[in-house]
Symmetry: C2
Subunit: 208 residues, 2 copies
């Protein structure tokens, strides 16, 4: 299992420090996350997860009656994981740029630097056929995501670290779009290090 997923689950269940092993419910979320990154929401089935865990399909329905319940849980766990990641740092001592770099690092780790795609993109690419509850959860996440990055941009602008190129919201949009797009492209593995290359240019465009 990847470091990302280990921690994703640990923070989701709150057993990070105790060292207990993951229970089935959390393992399901973990595997679903991975599969969504690789294949998108419609691209995985309960059977895929059941096979990996060596349990039966019905057991997954016990934990997540409908597939959309599992989808929502994946987004929630992802959200929780970011919160946890941010919490690890002493934000008061960091510059806005350092905070942004930490954010980029987070994204890179969740996608294994391009081995897997962006979690959100696994949903977004299929948004036209997603159940309503999932579309809402997705919108909720993206709204929060935007606010998170906007805050960092604002801070960098106030401290004079970043160059103004529009409203902070617009700059945040730009940062997120480029980062998400980079993770996407990284998947076909034609050019190694796509993500890092793009991130460097995002930062450059912000700072000089």
């Amino acid at each position: 299992m990847t470091a990302f997923l280990k921690r994703l689950i640990a923070c989701h269940t709150g057993c990070a420090s105790t060292g207990e092993k993951l229970d089935t419910k959390d393992q399901i979320v973990q595997i679903a996350t991975e599969l969504i990154q690789q294949r998108g929401y419609q691209g995985f089935s309960y059977q895929d997860i059941a096979t990996r865990l060596d349990i039966k399909k019905a057991s997954i329905h016990y934990h997540f009656p409908k597939k959309e319940d599992l989808g929502v849980a994946v987004i929630s766990a992802y959200y929780q994981y970011i919160q946890d990641w941010i919490g690890k740092y002493d934000l008061d001592k960091m510059t806005a740029l350092e905070k942004l770099e930490q954010y980029f690092q987070f994204f890179a780790e969740t996608a294994l630097h391009g081995e897997l795609g962006c979690v959100m993109n696994g949903f977004l690419a299929e948004s036209g056929s997603l159940p309503e509850v999932l579309r809402e959860k997705l919108a909720w996440f993206e709204k929060w995501h935007m606010e998170l990055v906007t805050m960092k941009v604002k801070e960098g602008l106030e401290k004079g670290e970043f160059k103004k190129r529009g409203t902070p919201e617009e700059q945040a949009l730009f940062i997120i779009a480029a980062a998400m797009g980079a993770l996407n492209m990284a998947q076909d593995k034609q050019t190694p290090g796509v993500y890092d290359i793009v991130v460097r240019q995002i930062i450059e465009s912000l700072t000089c």
Copy 2:
């Protein structure tokens, strides 16, 4: 039908000037393209297309025996459409920046400014479960796509229009990632005009 799709098909069949109406085969490609933009490759079925065209599923198998054949055809038509779009312009009279703007406009039109997603992303998000032949076609397209943008960047650098921020390839990667990411985000429609906002910042970061 969108202007994009009309022309996508027209150039694919070569009957743009004659004004003949589209034959079934081309209509199938057109609808498949649209559905892939909304739902991804796995998110549409032959039945969806059959219903829209008021024909039977088996007729689609007649034109495209396997689903992957249709997938490949969609990418080919998309490629052909860009070639055609580029051909419309008198490139000799344009600056590198104008050429790049034309490229961005192309992308915006194919996705109706965010009503639909990026065609390639409909495949990319599911690359982990795509049949081999489709992955190859996708890689072929992306390679060509990269070369296209890299050329424009090189030209802009030589003419002194663009600022150097790494190798031309790296800058092209950045441009594509940001543009694709923007189209992706535009889909959930929380912020209107995402694409234009991001494109403006790409250009700004290139030119100043």
